[in-house]
């Protein structure tokens, strides 16, 4: 595939993800930190995010599975998840985490369970999309092109 075509696809896909709220300006910030000396920076951070998230989701599931839910502990995990999703620009995941924290404050176990499902869903969605976006990036680089950026989302 020609570099132009790949770059166009990449831009279109980026634009879509931003418009649908999956990603926000913080993701663009990460892209700015990637250069010739650190060509895999975004991939590395996103990979760390995936690892971290899977661990947190596991902790959340366990915490909510208890007879007596420790809402403080639950909130601590959600706070971490909110932080990491915010740091990479995973906006929808972050937003669900904000709602999740409110439910923890209210000590609403049922609400929290529903929120957990929601956050898992949003996480899987953004994971799939980020993987697709990063694959496109790799294809562009392999074809010798530069990765285009959407300045409007910085």
């Amino acid at each position: 595939m020609e570099v132009d075509q790949l770059q166009r696809s990449f831009l279109e896909y980026s634009r879509l993800l931003f418009h649908e709220g999956f990603l926000d300006g913080q993701f663009s910030q990460l892209q700015l930190l990637q250069d010739e000396s650190n060509p895999d920076f975004v991939l590395e951070v996103v990979s760390l995010f995936f690892e971290d998230s899977e661990r947190l989701l596991n902790d959340l599931t366990i915490a909510l599975d208890q007879q007596n839910v420790d809402f403080k502990k639950l909130d601590a995990h959600v706070h971490q998840f909110k932080g990491s999703s915010s740091s990479i620009g995973a906006q929808r995941v972050k937003n669900v985490c904000i709602a999740f924290r409110n439910l923890c404050d209210e000590q609403n176990a049922e609400g929290c369970l529903r929120c957990l499902q929601q956050v898992k869903q949003e996480y899987l969605l953004v994971k799939t999309k980020l993987e697709a976006l990063l694959r496109l990036e790799q294809q562009i680089v392999a074809a010798g092109g530069a990765i285009p950026m959407l300045n409007e989302f910085c």
């Binding site: 930190l33 706070h79 530069a146």
Partner: protein
């Protein structure tokens, strides 16, 4: 690397005339930042943000580790000298064990380390928290997620007046001017800072659009 070359030229522009010989001598001294954050993702990001701003970075995951690194930990029997002087400490507020606020207090309470500027990061934009940190001696408060413009603003603490004053205590400036073998280069009059996002410390930072330094093409929408 071109990037670093540009950066040190910018740094020289920022300094006033009489510290120019001084800056030429310490040009090889990169600023060393100690970053403290329990989040793996955030540590990775802050480390990169600092490195891209030409800083040496040591990233640790807790207040305790930070104190150990500095040699301030009570349990540390050996002189905790790890070889590198710390020019700035940037720490997350919410951390298990010791919070960033507690770390700040410990540092400001130490005669050896109280001069080191401490910057607090937090995802929570709570005025009371910000005030408390500033009152305790924090240099600045950054609302997460941290952006490149936030870190660029920080470099003023590292390369600006404060740092020169701190260095002067260690070096005798007059002596340095005598012994430094520097060909005086005409320094331009103090130019406006290349940093276009100077904001007051207590307000949350906002990033302005700026041109990326990488080889990316910016394609207009």
């Amino acid at each position: 690397m071109a990037k670093n070359g540009v950066f040190s030229r910018l740094r020289r522009l920022e300094k006033s005339e009489d510290t120019d010989e001084f800056s030429a001598c310490i040009d090889s001294h990169e600023v060393h930042v100690l970053a403290v954050d329990d989040s793996l993702v955030d540590r990775k990001v802050i480390e990169r943000l600092l490195k891209i701003t030409a800083c040496k970075v040591t990233a640790v995951d807790s207040g305790r580790s930070a104190l150990q690194f500095l040699g301030l930990d009570e349990e540390e029997t050996s002189v905790g000298f790890h070889g590198l002087k710390v020019d700035l400490i940037i720490t997350d507020y919410c951390m298990p064990g010791m919070t960033g606020y507690e770390l700040l207090k410990k540092i400001k309470g130490s005669s050896t380390f109280r001069e080191i500027p401490v910057v607090i990061m937090s995802s929570e934009n709570v005025l009371a928290r910000i005030d408390r940190c500033l009152e305790e001696g924090a240099e600045d408060f950054i609302v997460k997620p941290v952006k490149l413009s936030d870190v660029k603003r920080l470099k003023n603490y590292m390369f600006g007046e404060g740092r020169v004053q701190r260095q002067e205590r260690g070096f005798n400036k007059r002596k340095l001017q005598e012994t430094c073998d520097v060909s005086p280069s005409p320094s331009p009059p103090s130019s406006p800072s290349p940093d276009d996002t100077l904001s007051s410390p207590s307000s949350p930072s906002s990033s302005l659009p700026f041109s990326p330094r990488s080889s990316r093409q910016s394609i207009p929408p």
